[in-house]
Symmetry: C2
Subunit: 337 residues, 2 copies
């Protein structure tokens, strides 16, 4: 068991040694630690060795000054200068927030910036500050078109954070049925994957993780996940001046420059007619859902964000159960230079 | 077979007799006719009798002047004064468009406005004008929470239109697995519905349309459609100052005031770094998807919007096959007073 403070400190130490600025290290450490606190370990400390390798190869630049350009009154266009995606996004959202007063809504379009980690992180943070935040980002092509077989669409996730009392509403979904991380985890454990998650290289449904990794993930709900995945690819990839489909690279590997983009919408509820009562009304509605009749054999009805928030609270008390090899790999990075 | 001109003219005549202004009748007629042209008959002429009854009962007002209020520089808050949702939304988007130049993005939040019809209509129209348009709206509670049984979430759809050459990208989805219109159509034909579309009043999966109508629709892809449905309910319901969940009424019946809301985002691609080449890049990507290898036993891969656009073109040539009773009912409305 590791405390979140220990995890953050270890990450900050490693990134500082690699030349990252104090704000860069701090936000990157917080995003990874929050991933582990919520049980999203594929977005947690296990990413640090890849991050470190990317920084050493200068695929990720440290100590960058992202370029913020207001390409319209309510559009902030950001060139991340190949910086840490976590730092670039967090800084850009703060710039957008400080300009939100008059505008009510600001769109933030980011290019040349590395992997964001768990995108719900930014949405929840801004929702805690009283704002509505919608985040979209783009991945490598991993998902086949509905009716197709080739991996041409990203898992292109969307997250939405909305103020609510006492804790924000937070929803975070990939547009694929499952995540590539879950396929890799099944492979690692020598287990098969559920029917419906993936197809093999010939486009046939498969439960073998190796065959799935040669093939493609399925889009969530067929044409729905497919269409939404394309739309997010356009909004978060092409619109900021980044890439889509086969041309997206460098989010997870240690070989290629990151060519993906990100797209955020930040809104002040108080700029809308329903704003003043929004947080209270959202809370009331979510409670109505929670108290509704569960399906036979199910536990109580939950709402998006409940499960990971509960896990986070438990881990804040009792620590984060990290695999020894993940922690050791991070310690080696700290000690090796 | 009916031509779109005949259908539009009949609707305009009926609505004009009911006191609607020329612009109100024209846009409502166009939205219903476009629904029929694309094969979405539940959003076509068959809605006219309900619309007429609602107007007569003054649940829908005609000849309204919606109130447009800029509640922030880039937020247009609209009170539709219980007017025709089609007219209110179309007018509001035109107001937003004329203000888009400096802003780059405008959010439009609408309350007190009746059913929009097919929400993709507005997105495609604006995409043809070179803009990105995202539309969300709220329905009566028809969908059960993931893990739940009670109909507490709307089918809350989202549509996204993006400029592309030569025709826009248009994606339109409900957050339920299927649509209530398809359950009603199955009931009408005396057929059963596919497993997975709905549960009965006890929360058990059912293939009986009558039992489904007493129960609830399932959310698309379980927790994903559920979470997205809640988020859209908040953005398009509560944020504009309208309702969510059980308090949404009056979109389809002839008894209740309409209490739903709508939410639109309108963006000028040219306010973004990727704007100048967007339409060409989108077209290239969509063609790459279309030319990719189809699944065995499937036809060519298509992209969202292809099927309904092809049907529309065919029907522009050969006419719209409307059931006689639907056409007769509309004629009776025209002739009865």
């Amino acid at each position: 068991m590791v405390s979140p403070e220990e995890e953050r400190e270890l990450i900050v130490t490693v990134l500082s040694k690699l030349g990252a600025s104090r704000p860069e290290s701090a936000i990157q450490a917080d995003v990874l630690t929050e991933g582990d606190l919520r049980g999203h370990h594929s977005h947690g400390l296990q990413r640090l060795p890849v991050l470190a390798a990317r920084i050493r190869k200068r695929l990720i630049r440290v100590n960058v000054d992202p370029e913020y350009r207001w390409t319209a009154d309510s559009v902030l266009s950001v060139d991340g200068k190949d910086g840490l995606g976590t730092f670039v996004a967090d800084s850009a959202l703060n710039v957008a927030k400080s300009a939100l007063g008059q505008r009510g809504i600001v769109a933030v379009a980011i290019r040349n910036s590395s992997h964001l980690g768990m995108i719900g992180y930014y949405c929840e943070k801004k929702a805690r500050e009283g704002l509505i935040c919608i985040a979209m980002t783009v991945s490598e092509p991993l998902v086949h078109p509905h009716g197709g077989t080739e991996a041409l669409v990203g898992t292109n996730p969307i997250a939405i954070g909305i103020p609510s009392d006492p804790t924000p509403f937070l929803f975070d979904m990939a547009t694929s049925t499952s995540a590539i991380g879950k396929i890799l985890a099944a492979k690692h454990r020598g287990e098969s994957i559920p029917e419906g998650w993936a197809v093999d290289a010939h486009g046939k449904s498969t439960t073998d993780p190796d065959a799935a990794l040669q093939g493609a993930l399925t889009p969530a709900a067929g044409p729905k996940g497919y269409g939404l995945g394309i739309a997010i690819g356009i909004l978060a990839g092409l619109l900021p001046g980044a890439e889509i489909g086969r041309l997206v690279a460098g989010t997870l590997d240690t070989e290629q420059r990151c060519t993906k983009g990100d797209f955020f919408l930040l809104m002040n509820p108080r700029a809308f007619a329903g704003g003043p009562t929004l947080a209270t009304q959202v809370a009331g509605y979510l409670d109505e859902l929670r108290h509704s009749r569960p399906r036979e054999g199910s536990g109580a009805v939950i709402v998006p964000g409940d499960r990971s928030r509960n896990l986070r609270e438990e881990r804040l008390r009792s620590g984060i159960p990290l695999p020894k090899e993940v922690w050791r790999a991070a310690e080696r990075l700290r000690d090796e230079f």
